[in-house]
Symmetry: none
Subunit: 276 residues, 2 copies
């Protein structure tokens, strides 16, 4: 739940990384909305959901940024007026810096991320439904089981809840790699490659979360550095898992649109459609 | 990192130039979104990305403006109440005026600017991909290498990081002038001329950044003036490199649309399309 004191560069690092995440979420949200017309209608659902993921995340980053800014105040130490690097920031006794926003965010966005992944593939209805009925409850369970460990102070409950949360995570990986792969043979070559990129991005970025989660466990002397690196880790993972992931969904939707319709290719891609 | 004291006209200059940049970014962002329909679908991607660049910059100028406003406060010196020109502004001990926003902004927008430059040309996929794979990592590297020099207080590290950052910058110029030129012979005459304008604008405006960066080095007695001129330099360069650049992208997209489609010319340009 934050630490008591941060020095100048630690404060600046957290401050700027939170602002970076907010700017990225905001821009990707608008981008995914305004490029609707750049894909065939059947793929727009996936884009809208990706945009909503970024909107929800932008809202939460605004809250996290605000919470950070208002709960850490500079301590005036006289000398500070002439040397900024000497300023210390102290956590005030108020609401405290709220880490809960992240979990509320993930509880909403992680199921939606899995939904958009399945939606963009435009699989037959029965297969799609079957996959979503497995992925969505598992992802919610994963977040819910992680939260008690996040707020726990001791290493033991952190490890237990972390381990419990890993079970649905492994199940999600099983569904995405084994079950989903069975439905992929009808997809065009390029889409299969992109889906693979999507799954690897998901694995790589979701892998950052448990690392950030475990930082206070492995780096036992706690202190401000573990707090700073956890914030940096979570923020960068969020940008990759939401913004970059959303842009990859858009890329897949473009490729599938081009694959589905010659007219789409003429209008959207080829420079000289009327040359014929 | 800001300086300790600004006089009335220095404070007003920074305040107004930041507000000017914010207004320009916001208006260009909206403009580029609403003119989507004025170009053929295949050029809209470039316009959307240009709009996102201005949105991201608008967000950061809002933050920079806010940071400036809240971190410099007027010192009441009695006489000040009757003579505005006598008011001094002092940097309070708070978050400090945050220069980091500029670098976060550039890290996001500079790669996007290069993306939109290539996107608007609608080059064959392989060439486009090849150019982007060179330009985008180089631009990110350029920004990342510049940051340690920006926050350094001494001239020596400033010069070293500045020199390192210049290497990817020169590489970008090489790719844009030498490699890109090879792909330009299929482009219409007017587009070739506009691309040249685009590249020169890029060179001229990006040239302002190193000058602003070096101001504290060359103008050794530091003080408030170097701070003010750095803010003015960066802000004007940003407006030229993002707003004016975005408008030039729009101009190229219009010309290429007219070149691609007779119907577009009839609808969008000719005064009497139904004369036939």
């Amino acid at each position: 739940m934050g630490v008591l004191e941060l020095d100048y560069s630690q404060y600046q690092t957290v401050y700027n990384v939170l602002s970076f995440a907010l700017a990225s979420m905001l821009a990707t949200f608008i981008f995914l909305l305004v490029v609707q017309g750049r894909v065939l209608p059947r793929y727009r659902q996936a884009l809208v959901v990706s945009a909503m993921v970024c909107l929800i995340a932008a809202y939460h980053y605004y809250r996290i940024f605000d919470s950070f800014r208002h709960n850490y105040v500079a301590i005036d130490e006289g000398a500070a007026a002439t040397a900024f690097n000497a300023i210390q920031y102290q956590l005030v006794n108020g609401e405290g810096f709220n880490e809960g926003y992240r979990y509320v965010d993930w509880l909403l966005t992680v199921p939606l991320l899995l939904f958009e992944t399945i939606a963009v593939l435009a699989l037959p209805r029965a297969i799609r439904k079957n996959l979503l009925m497995k992925l969505i409850p598992a992802s919610a369970l994963m977040i819910i089981l992680g939260y008690p460990g996040e707020i726990a102070v001791d290493a033991a409950p952190k490890a237990i809840w972390g381990a419990l949360s890993t079970i649905p995570f492994l199940y999600i990986l099983y569904v995405l790699w084994v079950e989903l792969s069975k439905s992929m043979n009808t997809q065009p070559e390029q889409v299969r490659k992109d889906l693979n990129g999507l799954r690897l991005l998901l694995l790589a970025t979701w892998g950052v979360y448990p690392i950030s989660y475990m930082i206070p466990m492995i780096w036992q002397d706690a202190g401000a550095d573990t707090f700073v690196w956890r914030q940096v880790g979570y923020s960068i993972a969020d940008v990759l898992a939401k913004c970059l992931f959303g842009l990859l969904i858009y890329k897949i939707a473009r490729e599938k649109s081009a694959n589905d319709s010659r007219e789409f290719v003429d209008q959207e891609i080829d420079a000289a459609p009327s040359s014929k």
